[in-house]
Amino acid sequence: MIKKNSYSVPEGYFDNLESKLTAIPQMQGSKARRWEKISPYLALAACFCFSLVLGKMIIKGGPALDEDGSTYQEMVYADLIPYTEPLYIFTSTDADESEALSQEDIISYLIESGASIELIDYHTNK
């Protein structure tokens, strides 16, 4: 049977080991201490987020309406119709002639949005 006395360790090993192991807290730092350090910053960030949410709720709760309600309508449409929606850009009949996008606008949009060369070609030759 193998007994533990079949093994040995270098002389004074356990004394050295104790000093190495007791140095771990200094080397590693305490998680608790780290938490103590960052908790005031986290509390500050939480307060900031809370005040943002509160502010947004107050603003949403009572939007100032124009007499003809145009601002309100504008806000409603801003939410409903994303202006970046390509389908809307091409099919909208409400769009004013002066506000309609030119061919160049469409091509530069396609280039910027990383569309395929075939699609860009298609619109260039349209």
Binding site: K4, S6, V9, P10, F14, T22, S30
Partner: protein
């Protein structure tokens, strides 16, 4: 020095030797045990704030040490597999070249046979045979049922017998 550090230092004082020998019976080589014991105490230090007093400190420490040793053996096996080297000669060299092993030839053969076992069987065998733990203690540390441990120990014994017969 805060309370946590005082508590950690007391654990180091009380358990360093017991944990070292526990790890040594699992990995055999002094160099490996020395590296591992430091990693284990780093884990203990990091986990100490979340340690619940109602759990048994001894079981908690032994569980950390055992899991770290199993992971170490697994990593070693993977490293050996990745370097396309056979495990057996490498292990044999470790025990043959270990200056801190004073066992006789039969003990040396036994260690070589243990090293050929899969990690979990090896741990079960070492805890039962070398550390002479009860199945109940082992069950608490390994989180495995007593029945499964008995079966695992039996299989390990059979493999070791076969391995020693072949080598003699």
């Amino acid at each position: 020095m805060n309370d946590l550090e005082l508590r950690f230092n007391q654990i180091v004082k009380d358990y360093k030797e017991r944990l070292y020998w526990h790890v040594r019976t699992l990995v055999f080589s002094h160099e490996d045990a020395d590296d591992l014991i430091q990693e284990i105490f780093i884990k203990v230090w990091n986990a100490l704030p979340s340690f619940r007093e109602e759990s048994n400190l001894y079981t908690w420490l032994y569980r950390i040490a055992t899991n770290e040793s199993i992971n170490f053996l697994r990593r070693k096996k993977i490293r050996a597999a990745l370097s396309f080297s056979s495990l057996t000669p490498q292990h044999e060299n470790i025990i043959d070249g270990d200056t801190y092993f004073n066992g006789d030839e039969l003990e040396r053969e036994l260690i070589k046979a243990i090293q050929k076992l899969p990690e979990k069987q090896r741990v079960v065998f070492s805890l039962k045979y070398i550390e002479e733990m009860t199945y109940e203690e082992m069950s608490e540390i390994l989180g495995t049922s007593v029945g499964a441990l008995k079966a695992s120990y039996h299989i390990a014994c059979e493999k070791i017998k076969k391995s020693i017969k072949l080598s003699l």
